[in-house]
């Protein structure tokens, strides 16, 4: 992710991602036009669905919360030069940790049970990231391929557990029993009701504040701590880092564990914040969206917050849109997410040359 040298900083940081986003939305709009719908009308419906009414905003922020965690997970690994594509599997395994704690210690009070579940989510997520990280550091096996394989292995493992071991007795659906009430993270509308705010009933919960805290901590850890400095050194030039005496192997493993732990926290938002039980496939692509969030947010907390909000809005607005326009299904959002990853991640410098020429002309005047 090298920064274009001949663009002013503000243009590289703000203008380019916006242009890339517009390009992705344009292609998406062309496909919508191709299937005979009006792209402008659809865009209006989506924006209204995501931000137009209180309930929509609640859902948008709920999705944003999960995307912040998986986005931070991908970004953390990126800072060490690693592409962690396994957020999906790490989050899935974290769900197992949460479930085991909640089923085992359901009798504990909330102030103890919820932090314990969070710890379990982080440990299980980190554990699932540890093996690929160890293999990358010690045996040189490529982390992208191993994390993909680990996604598949996680999915097989969890299918077996949910069907054969953890399924609610007497139920056909592969899902666990409902967790004890003390494991439920308080909803925002419950929290704010005593203060006189009447919020609509949405799954938006206190995990949202944890996500905001994680963004701040991420900033401090990456840019204002010795560990962050070491991580970025490894990411920028592994050979130089090794030469400078940095234990690159340890850094790779540690950063991947942090990355897995962050992905794991997304499971808290989904399981303890919303469904209060574990369903098969509850991760639902959230881990993959994290890739898009990190790429668009340029691995910076501010960028990640904004792009997580964008993807939260896309998810919620897209769901609303699919109610209004049956032809535009949920898959249209996956297509748009793919386009955004393509334009922001792989074609990030597509507009660099034309933009720098245009800017030079404007700034000269």
């Amino acid at each position: 992710m090298s920064q274009p040298a001949n663009l002013p900083r503000w243009a590289a940081l703000w203008l380019m991602p916006v242009l890339n986003l517009l390009a992705a939305l344009l292609v998406s709009g062309l496909v919508i036009a191709l299937i005979g719908e009006d792209p402008i009308e659809c865009l209006k419906l989506m924006i209204n669905g995501a931000f137009g009414y209180p309930e929509g905003i609640g859902y948008t922020l709920f999705y944003t919360t999960s995307f912040i965690f998986t986005g931070l997970a991908v970004a953390a690994a990126f800072h060490a030069g690693l592409f962690n594509i396994g957020g999906e599997g790490q989050m899935y395994l974290a769900g197992l940790g949460v479930t085991l704690v909640c089923l085992q210690f359901g009798g504990l009070p909330a102030w103890l049970l919820i932090p314990l579940a969070m710890l379990a989510a982080m440990v299980f997520g980190a554990g699932w990231a540890f093996i690929p990280a160890y293999l990358q550091a010690k045996r040189g096996s490529h982390i992208v391929v191993t994390t993909i394989m680990f996604n598949f292995i996680a999915s097989s493992l969890m299918t077996w557990l949910l069907v054969d071991k953890l399924r609610m007795p007497g139920s056909q659906t592969p899902a666990t029993v409902e967790f004890a009430k003390s494991a439920w993270v308080p909803m925002l509308h419950e929290l704010l009701a005593p203060l006189g705010f009447a919020l609509p009933n949405t799954p938006l919960n206190a995990t949202f504040f944890l996500a905001l805290l994680a963004l701040v901590l991420f900033y401090l850890a990456v840019w204002h701590s010795p560990q962050g400095f070491v991580t970025r050194t490894v990411g920028l030039n592994e050979k130089a880092a090794r030469y400078a005496g940095i234990p690159v192997d340890k850094v790779v493993i540690a950063v991947m564990c942090v990355s897995g732990a962050l992905a794991g926290l997304a499971a808290i938002n989904e399981l303890l914040g919303s469904t209060h039980r574990m369903n098969m496939g509850f991760t639902n692509g959230i881990g993959f969206v994290g890739i898009a969030v990190a790429l668009m947010g340029r691995n910076h907390p501010v960028g990640i917050l904004l792009s997580a909000l964008l993807f939260g809005a896309l998810t919620q607005g897209g769901l609303d849109l699919s109610f209004e326009k049956p032809a535009i299904t949920r898959e249209m959002i996956i297509f748009t997410q793919g386009l955004i990853i393509l334009f922001c991640g792989a074609l990030e410098n597509l507009f660099q040359t034309p933009l720098s020429i245009a800017l030079k002309r404007i700034l000269k005047k």
Binding site: I35, L135, R139, V144, I153, V163, I333, L342
Partner: protein, 315 residues
């Protein structure tokens, strides 16, 4: 004995698209372009072939469309990777998501049957070829294994021979491997790195096109949402398993297909000593094997040297 042959028969059927996709990945990766986009190429081909076979009432038109779609997606991946020096991993992840998203949307808009295309008649599909000496074959399970498949299976077998010849005996194969190992040396020797990589991508797309067509027109008889179901990644795993060599990759595909074939038969069967194995475990075998192999615990898999690194011509 019948059980034995029926497992082998199933192995052959499951392995055909894997073999084609793994060989597609071979071209791409030996030229130095990481090919995580196999999944997207196959899925696009499956969709295009099902649409065209339905509209034109011809499986061959479907095959043509499948190959065209595969090549188109491959050239998108190639354009990003070769001309724009973009991140090949990210490009592939993006392409897989895009294809997985856009195909059911288009299918719904064009055919109104949910995210799928209409079921094809037998005349629009690749069905089993008529067997010579049908009476004699009916008697022998072994002969049934050789005859009585659809034409794409035989094409896949022929492709294996052609690919291993091209890769190791032809001038293009030598250039392709040179470009994938040391593009600067190849460039200095007067080989155009870009055009070799573009051709490799096009071949990869075409082979994925046949693989995707097989899934839609031979195996299923329609396009179904996400019908590749990870087969592209499985083919990539087989390629790594085969250490980026054609015949070894093919044997990886056969092994993975075999585990798939016995998995169905092992469901709920009590084995001596171990009891019944949950089928999820057998499903995970190829992925675990790949990780083990990549970790160098079963002989080291060494990737082509220049893989994943954009080629910037030195001045």
């Amino acid at each position: 004995m019948d059980m034995f042959f029926s497992v082998l028969d199933a192995t052959l059927r499951v392995s055909t698209p894997l073999v084609l996709a793994a060989l597609a990945g071979l071209f791409s990766e030996r030229s130095g372009i990481v090919d995580l986009a196999l999944e997207g190429k196959m899925l696009a081909a499956a969709f295009a072939s099902a649409c065209v076979a339905y509209l034109a009432h011809s499986p061959w038109a479907g095959l043509g469309a499948g190959i065209a779609a595969g090549v188109l997606v491959a050239l998108l991946h190639g354009g990003v990777s070769i001309s724009y020096n973009g991140n090949q991993l990210i490009s592939a992840v993006a392409i897989n998501m895009m294809v997985s998203g856009v195909t059911p949307v288009l299918a719904l808009a064009w055919f109104q049957q949910g995210g799928r295309t209409p079921t094809l008649d037998d005349s629009e599909r690749f069905t089993a070829l008529p067997m010579p000496f049908a009476d004699a074959i009916e008697q022998s399970s072994a002969l049934k294994l050789i005859f009585g498949h659809n034409i794409l299976v035989y094409i896949a077998v022929a492709v294996i021979f052609v690919v291993s010849w091209v890769m190791y005996k032809s001038r293009f194969g030598l250039r392709l491997r040179a470009v994938g190992e040391n593009p600067h040396a190849a460039d200095a020797a007067g080989i155009s790195v870009k055009s070799v990589r573009y051709i490799a991508q096009a071949i990869s797309g075409a082979l994925c096109g046949v693989a995707g067509t097989y899934l839609a027109l031979a195996q299923t008889g329609a396009f179904i949402q996400d019908m590749t179901a990870g087969k592209g990644y499985l083919a990539l795993a087989a390629l790594i398993f085969g250490k980026w060599r054609p015949w070894a990759a093919v044997s990886g595909c056969l092994l993975f297909a075999f585990t798939d074939a016995i998995q169905i038969r092992l469901q709920g069967v009590e084995l001596p000593l171990i009891g019944s194995i949950p089928d999820a475990f057998i499903q995970a075998i190829p992925y675990v094997l790949t990780v083990v192999l990549l970790a160098g615990l079963m002989g080291r898999a060494v990737a082509p040297k220049a893989i994943g690194i954009p080629f910037v011509k030195s001045r």
